[in-house]
Symmetry: C2
Amino acid sequence: MFTTPAYPADTPQETRVAVEPLKELLVKMYVKMGMFKAEAEIAASRQVESDLRGIPSHGVRATPRYLKAMETGDIDPRGQTTTVVDTPAIAVLDGGRNIGHVVATKAMKLAISKAKEVGTGTVAVKNSLHYGASGVYALMAAAQGMIGYTTTSTGGATVAAYGSARPGTANNAFAWAAPTRTGKPFCLDMACAQSSWGKVDSWKLYGQPMPGDWALDAEGRPTTDPHAAKILLPAAGARGSALALVSAILAGPLVGGKMPLHKTRHPDHEDSEHFFYVIDVARFGFEERFYAELDSALEEIRNLPPAEGFQRTTIAGDLETERTARNLAEGVPLHASDLAALATCAAKWKLPVPWAAS
Amino acid sequence: MFTTPAYPADTPQETRVAVEPLKELLVKMYVKMGMFKAEAEIAASRQVESDLRGIPSHGVRATPRYLKAMETGDIDPRGQTTTVVDTPAIAVLDGGRNIGHVVATKAMKLAISKAKEVGTGTVAVKNSLHYGASGVYALMAAAQGMIGYTTTSTGGATVAAYGSARPGTANNAFAWAAPTRTGKPFCLDMACAQSSWGKVDSWKLYGQPMPGDWALDAEGRPTTDPHAAKILLPAAGARGSALALVSAILAGPLVGGKMPLHKTRHPDHEDSEHFFYVIDVARFGFEERFYAELDSALEEIRNLPPAEGFQRTTIAGDLETERTARNLAEGVPLHASDLAALATCAAKWKLPVPWAAS
């Protein structure tokens, strides 16, 4: 009845690692590469937040790739954020080719402060790199009583254009978050293809075949082999394809960047643009009714009887909120091969790792 | 490979009607009900624009329903738009319970003028009624060199909550449009279920069974009978369900309105809230590169080889742009039963209809 791509999970291949020591290890490695400590902490925090939410594809797994991009000079660990355009409602920031999490965090904070003043804030970012998981930025707005939206470019065209077996768009991600007073913010964090390359990577890692409607191989034929997958299929046909284009336009040409078809480098090394939009609920004049109405309706949806095959009905963001609570207490579950890759990086500087070697 | 719901089409059941006389008939009927002529022209224009684009579900077909809602007092044909909140970047308008097209057009124009000043404009509308097709408003922004977004509430919960066979959200619609210099603006106009009630109605009208993954019957079982369909299924599972909630939050609680679960009346009579967001491309500082990059990339996508079963690769909005050109020249194709319903309304005031009786 419902189709939604899931991550594979195989507990014996995972180890739970405590959050603070994990973050500290990332900070130390980024500082070794030349980042300022305060900015390294921003990047590490956004990554660990992704793992906490159960999105390992955009969590600390990416650090060895980011370190490599710093070595090749594609990420500038000392790159500074500069302001290109500024009005009461909008700003354009230049990320100085630092790791995307740094300028993205600044951009979302700036959008929040503009929204406090004039009701909304829109900040677009150019000259940045991969910023991780969209949801963690949208949730920064929700934590301030605001509705947050963000989208980002994610490299070249790897998703079939609607009506073609050839790639026309990237699998751009976007997120919407809305505040609640229940401790369970609404948070939709999605990409526009049937699945994501991060999830395809997860299936590779766990050595299992993927669902058959996710991807095409190099010849444009549907495949269940994650290693053969070369082109993702858009979700909901024309709609997923067009939603990916919306993200590509906002996080791309709007700030002078390229469309996915014109990007040729791996997403870890390719220019990335980001877009942030924040709506201050209070400034629209119905704050108390907003929370009363939204919180009661979401709770009623959670209480709907589950369909066959489901244990319960959930709201977007619920599972991630629950995982965050559990993972904060028990540590984030990381795959053995991700831990090995992080340990290899740490060994270069003789940094101890906060988990037992398996 | 791709799934996208289509309208049924059966030319012998349709008659092409010239646009201007059709619009005039609508204006006359709305004026008879008490609307100011200028506002009646706004409503009729937005409806005919929907028919021109090949979206009959939100076109003149709705006029007999709107007239009925004026008779029952749910639409106030003299309802005036008032301003509730106003800052340089945002406004909240009260639609005075007039037909939604009137306040929606004013709201989009206001958002455009704010975007010219500060880079973006956000206008939210409360106390309105059904506003027709989202796409025609988003395109007003694109016509001014701006990116436009709009969403609207569409009555009660009729789409299954993710994980339940019971309705949790409405089939809220939203649209994004972006300007181009090719005469073919990008325009994504979508709802969040596998299909829309308007399309289900079209299948009823044409007496054909629907695809099997669109809807559930009253007992929560999948059905292909448009008459038995009671609950729509969300597109792309959790994602369609959550996207519908985003729209419900922006066009609802943000301006003191209800969530779909708390709306109980037919969409023609139920309160409707709308939301508009406009981004002035020029104010972000890269206007020339924006058009050069976007136009060339979209053209390259159009030139990708079509997949099996497709004649060509198209961008969201292309088919609607082509239909508009054809329908402007040849008249909009309207179904015999829609024409009969309009003729019945017109006969009450002895107004002649601009088509031959069949």
